[in-house]
Amino acid sequence: MYLFQRLVQGVLVLLGVTTIVFALTFVAGDPASTLAPLDTTPAELEAFRHNMGLDRPVPVQYLDFLAHAVRGDFGMSYSSHEPAMGVVLERLPATLRLTGAAVLFALVVAIPLGLLAAMNHDRWIDSAARFFAFLGQSIPVFLLGMVLILVFAVGLRWLPSSGGESWKSLILPAISVGAFSAAVLARLLRSSLLEVLSQEYIRTAYAKGLRGRTVVVRHALRNAALPFVTMLGLQVGFLLSGAVVAETIFAYPGMGRLAVEAISRKDVPVIQSFVTIAAVIVIAANLFVDLLYTRIDPRIRLS
């Protein structure tokens, strides 16, 4: 029941997203001049307006847009003259690989860092972890990406600085995208662990004579998992934003770079498809988090 509600909510949000995507063409005023290629004469513009149905009432246009959008039809790309959605979907796997690798990096860094910091509260390990977390939260993707290129591609020549052919070309972009989330998640895990560790039942566990590590892993971690998973779900949007920047620096063939290239050509159908796909990923990730909730906390499933 809970999951069904969330699913319905997700569909409604997606409907809202398509409204925003539709409205994009009206932001700059005249949709015909936004949508038409850059070098259009006034006479051609008039013909374009009629051909595209832009002279119809806005509600009619919206319903027509929706009817096509549910079938994944966002019109033709201006530059490649193929279906815009297809052009974006072609680049989707590369972006999913990048964000997936970034999530992996964030988790591999955040979980040990948060655990170490909480278990050594107010000692030097804690301070060092907090320092790195602050740094990771503040460094822009483009700066970290550049420093990584300088050190590992230009200096040490260990890893490629661009491209998307092998798993090696995934490492540097994934680190630049994931660093922010790693920092946020490490801070959150630390503070929620500290909160849990001050609870009564933890003291009981200690009083039973359990070792510190057992208490943290068996009792505290499970209860700190809920806010952690929530935050992980919220990070998906940041990861996709970061991927747009990282794909540009590392010349990585994902859909973010495609969208940035589409801007200079005013390829609006491609941009609309890109926004929609990004939103679908965020909504799907949130549904997945809801699913995880019911696994972690049985109370949610029952309510």
Binding site: F134, T248, V268
Partner: protein, 281 residues
């Protein structure tokens, strides 16, 4: 209901943050005195290293590919970043606080509409939406600020709404209503002052977020006109020279990082000092 405002003095990290933000404001205000002529091209000084790293022409942070002094450009870039950060927060906060008050105070239909719109916007990654809107708008700082406000208002709205929802039920608001205070007075005298702490914290963190946001957008070449000296644009211009002239991209990038770091440190300290309920250890 009085919180112990200002009962905690800034610690080391917070002082560091305040110092950086102060330096930034000074740099923006007196940019022309500190390092004049950010656009002057000295073609004989092209790609000159910083003076302390072997540069021949005495530029403290070196020069870029057109021989422009990087120190002057970074200092002038502070103007754009601060303008975007401060005006953007004023606009985003103004819209978000108003809508949050409406949603929380009037409730019912208004609450549902505003929160649904916030849900929808939250499903679109901020930078993705900003890139899309910037693509159909003409590049200008004013447009960019509007885009940033449009993509971030709901953070303020959510915080203010939840503050209003809890404050509305408080006894002192109830008693104010009983003695005949109207809605405007209740909001102005009782609700806003008590929500101020959270708003200040969010606003501080948001200044850094918007500056980072602006830098990312101008790095991608959208938002700000290409001729405006922004930190993000400078990094982009420098990145093709990164292997040989690392300073061109590094210093503006560091400027962004230090600014964001500073607002994060100050924001964190403010949260602890102003808002004991959200205190982090």
């Amino acid at each position: 209901m009085r919180r112990r405002v200002g009962s905690r003095l800034p610690s080391g990290p917070a002082l560091f943050g305040i110092a950086i933000l102060t330096a930034l404001v000074v740099a923006a205000l007196f940019a022309d005195l500190i390092a004049p002529a950010p656009d002057t091209q000295q073609l004989f000084d092209r790609l000159d290293a910083p003076s302390w790293a072997g540069g021949a022409h005495g530029h403290l942070l070196g020069t870029d590919s057109l021989g422009r002094d990087l120190l002057a450009r970074v200092v002038h870039g502070a103007r754009v970043s601060l303008t975007v950060g401060l005006v953007g927060v004023a606009l985003s906060g103004g819209v978000g606080i108003t809508l949050g008050l409406i949603a929380g105070y009037l409730g019912r239909r208004w609450d549902r509409i505003i929160m649904r719109v916030a849900d929808v916007q939250q499903a679109i990654p901020a930078l993705v939406l900003a890139v899309a809107v910037a693509a159909v708008l003409k590049p200008s700082i004013a447009n960019l600020i509007v885009v940033l406000a449009v993509t971030t208002w709901f953070t303020f709205a959510r915080v203010v709404r939840s503050e209003v929802l809890s404050l509305r039920e408080m006894l002192f608001v109830e008693s104010a209503r009983v003695v005949g205070a109207d809605d405007a007075r209740i909001i102005g005298r009782h609700i806003l002052p008590n929500a101020a702490a959270s708003i200040i914290v969010i606003a501080t963190l948001m200044v850094g977020n918007l500056i980072l946001f602006e830098a990312s957008l101008s790095f991608l070449g959208v938002g700000v006109p290409l001729t405006t000296p922004t930190w993000g644009r400078m990094v982009f211009d420098g990145i093709e020279y990164v292997a040989t002239a690392w300073w061109i991209a590094l210093f503006p990038g560091l400027a962004v990082m230090l600014t964001v770091l500073a607002t994060n440190l100050v924001g964190d300290w403010l949260r602890d000092a102003l808002d004991p309920r959200q205190r982090r250890r």
